[in-house]
Symmetry: C2
Subunit: 315 residues, 2 copies
């Protein structure tokens, strides 16, 4: 049977899956990314797990695993070069050429892109964006990422670095961002930004024991400051989403990531804000939707989907 | 010889040109748009002028004019439907189906898009964006328009209404915009927005005798309020342009339109602002450039270029 490998390279862990053509994950493995400081041993161990997954699946299927390719979603992953370019939150530093390294072990197509682009493409191939030609994915997590699909193609731009809407400046001279600038969307609507808003509203310093998950639980218990926090975040994210519509007039904007699991306390003000800020010519043509992929599968599925993109683009 | 017709439909005038394959305008004509309230007589007179241009050129060439098509740049022009959709600043109201109407006179391809999209495509086919695959065009005028090219294709989006960056909300709860919302880029960096900024800085009411052209002349004479006006506008536009880069990572952002002819008083603060607000991963990969097409030719050339797009897309 035909499979793809999806690799979700995070700063802490690297999750891998053997994915069927229909988007089912039949095998899963992981290795600790932050235990490595060099690409060679990291890829060696990654490929050991890939081969183990293939062998296990072969035993179950009773026939050889036909591998279509390896898709990798990684921070600062560049689709054009196939390299991870100096990702600040990885312990493996520098420009990491995965294609070259993997070739030592296996001769299959290797496609790499950043994690948010992969998530968007996963939604397109396996999730709620199937059949759509134009949509945008926002991922909320430690940071805020985005992936943009136009005319059925993921937008990579001239450098491979397109789709960084988390670094759209929402508030000029606003909060300090990890990118060195001020007021990026990410500083308000990432998990960290949400915690900061809550602490500011409460008038207390930011401490590690406050999490966006906790603020979600408090909101469901009716805590007014927590509720006000999600209203603020929803308003800011809705504005950013409405602005993004003026660019590509998408059919939908998808949303995923840890902080979105709070549900209505975020989604209600988000939808209201989106409607309020949406330019009249787009009203009724674009709506906000939650990702239809499971939270613990989307990253692997997205990475595996990148292989489909390579095939479709004939590259 | 082969020619295209480019039609620039403005609220006041409709300019038409017979354009060679290399982007030379050999014949020009115009009719007063605002003298019409119905599509039928408007297209009738437009086609009369088109035929007159063709006959005149035929006499010069000594051979039949081979017409590749008619491209129309119009406010609210929709590429997908070939219609102008309820443009507020036209005296001809409603949904205007140009393709259907033109077919009564001539059987050639008709392509229609909004004016800023046409300008972007003109830059791509005939101007400074030749050979580029990713760029954005900002047009400053009565309003602020934009056209976006990704992977060598004009972005139309799911509705045909993509590329309205003039209606990105720059300042939440800011200046009232003609679209009914508040704080759109257009309210700050259109000719009208520039006049408003100047009058606000001077502490006088906005009157019709103040124009952006006059503010440009004052800046060149060293008038401090005029200079401060352009600095403010440059800073705002630079931020908007830097934000647009996070979407598609273009090679260049082009700029055109009346207010840009002031030159350095606008361009210097604009470039400084763009550099200040540009996300680090894009530094060095994208620069701001002035349109290379003549101000009095760009609209006709852009409209004519739309025919090339139709041919390339195989539609």
């Amino acid at each position: 049977m035909k499979y793809s490998i999806g690799v979700d390279m995070g700063g802490t862990n690297t999750d891998m899956g053997l994915v069927t053509e229909n988007g089912n994950i039949f095998q899963r493995r992981n290795i600790p990314t932050n235990a490595y400081t060099e690409l060679e041993p990291y890829v060696r161990d990654m490929m050991r797990e890939v081969k183990a997954m293939m062998e296990e699946q072969q035993a179950i299927d009773g026939e050889a695993v036909e591998l279509e390719g390896i898709g990798i979603g990684a921070p600062n992953g560049n689709f054009y070069t196939g390299c991870v370019d100096n990702a600040p939150n990885l312990t493996i530093k520098g420009v990491l050429d995965f294609g070259k390294e993997i070739k030592k072990y296996m001769s299959v197509p290797v496609v790499l892109s950043n994690d948010a682009n992969a998530a968007a493409y996963g939604e397109y191939v396996y999730g709620g964006a199937r059949g759509m030609k134009h949509f945008i994915m926002f991922t909320l997590g430690t940071g805020v990422g985005s992936g943009i699909v136009i005319d059925g193609k993921l937008v990579h731009g001239s450098t491979g670095g397109a789709g960084e809407l988390g670094h759209n400046i929402l508030v000029p001279h606003g909060r300090k961002c990890s990118c060195g600038r001020e007021g990026c969307l990410e500083t308000y609507t990432s998990a960290r930004g949400i915690v900061q808003t809550y602490c500011e509203l409460k008038g207390v310093p930011v401490t590690p024991d406050v999490t966006s998950k906790m603020i979600g639980e408090l909101a469901h218990q009716g805590d007014p400051i927590a509720m006000k926090t999600w209203e603020t975040v929803g308003d800011q994210l809705g504005l950013a989403m409405a602005n993004s519509v003026t660019f590509s007039a998408p059919e939908a904007i998808f949303l995923m990531g840890g902080p979105t699991q709070v549900g209505e306390p975020l989604l209600k003000p988000l939808r209201e804000s989106f409607e309020k800020y949406l330019l009249n010519i787009y009203v009724g043509s674009c709506r906000i939707r939650m990702s239809e992929l499971k939270a613990n599968e989307v990253a692997i599925l997205g990475a595996a989907a990148l292989i489909k993109m390579k095939n479709e683009n004939g590259k």
